[in-house]
């Protein structure tokens, strides 16, 4: 009976530990051109779930608005207008969407001026405002 409890406690402990062992998010420095004064934004017409490096999944909801913030070599960069969006791996990083040809190709991490690719890219449906 006692060994059963020890096993249960051990399993819970190891599970909790593993949940805190998410891998570091892949990223690299990238030049970023800010679009100061732009009023353009997009509004998602369909929700999408991006793979979260912690394994939890990260949903971007239909109806959310993303303001054009700038550009990187991989595409146009959009910042959340409604909330704050971040990626969580071993650490957390504020993230902007990088979109090219109606595909979410990755993220720009403004706190580190870095690029994090999304492979494979995901189709993203939105209307331009």
């Amino acid at each position: 009976m006692r060994s059963t409890w020890v096993n249960v406690v051990a399993i819970v402990w190891v599970s909790a530990l593993c949940s805190g062992c998410a891998p570091e998010i892949v990223r690299s420095s990238i030049p970023y051109v800010q679009k100061a004064g732009s009023t353009e934004y997009i509004q998602l017409t369909q929700s999408l779930t991006v793979p979260n490096w912690s394994g939890a999944g990260n949903k971007i909801f239909v109806g959310t608005r993303w303001a054009l913030a700038g550009e990187v070599s991989h595409g146009r960069v959009y910042r959340s207008r409604d909330s704050v969006f971040f990626l969580q791996g071993a650490n957390s990083h504020e993230a902007y969407l990088v979109i090219k040809d109606n595909k979410l190709v990755g993220f720009y991490l403004p706190g580190e001026k870095s690029w994090s690719p999304l492979e494979p890219a995901l189709s993203i449906e939105f209307s331009v405002k």
Binding site: A16, S19, V84, H93, E94, G111
Partner: protein
């Protein structure tokens, strides 16, 4: 039985020691200094008593700027730029973000399980959610 009481008492003392005793956000928000022109504000808060005995120092771009006590908050005003908020127990954890002039960023700290000590975890929270959570928290700033 006596030993159980002693252990319980010791746990209570440790837990209370890890809680903030400053004024509540709801009481002091009207008296808080406004941001200087050209600066942004970073709020760091912890709205849970889980892991209350773990009170990590919180660093803003490597400079110790406060301690994360259970049910507490503090804030710092900084120039626009890139920021990394970090804390270390048995591992270092961090959150990075950009701060613009006149902008407030809200960073929630929680303590998760660790091998020998609780591990800090950081999340960015939107203003509405953070402001609701902040109301009942006590100021732990300098």
């Amino acid at each position: 039985m006596k030993n159980t009481r002693r252990v319980f008492l010791a746990l209570c003392i440790v837990a209370v020691a890890g809680c903030a005793s400053g004024p509540k956000f709801s009481e002091m928000q009207s008296k808080m200094p406004t941001m200087k022109a050209g600066e942004g504000r970073i709020y760091v808060y912890r709205d849970s008593v889980f892991g209350a005995a773990v009170v990590p120092a919180v660093y803003v771009n490597g400079v110790e700027s406060g301690r994360s006590l259970a049910n507490s908050f503090f804030y710092v005003d900084r120039a626009p730029g890139e920021y990394k908020i970090s804390a270390t127990t048995e591992v270092e954890k961090s959150v990075s973000f950009a701060l613009a002039a006149g902008e407030s960023k809200y960073v929630k700290v929680s303590i998760g399980m660790g091998l020998f000590a609780g591990r800090p975890n950081f999340e960015l929270v939107n203003e509405a959610g953070a402001r609701t959570a902040l109301q009942s928290l006590s100021y732990s700033g300098k």
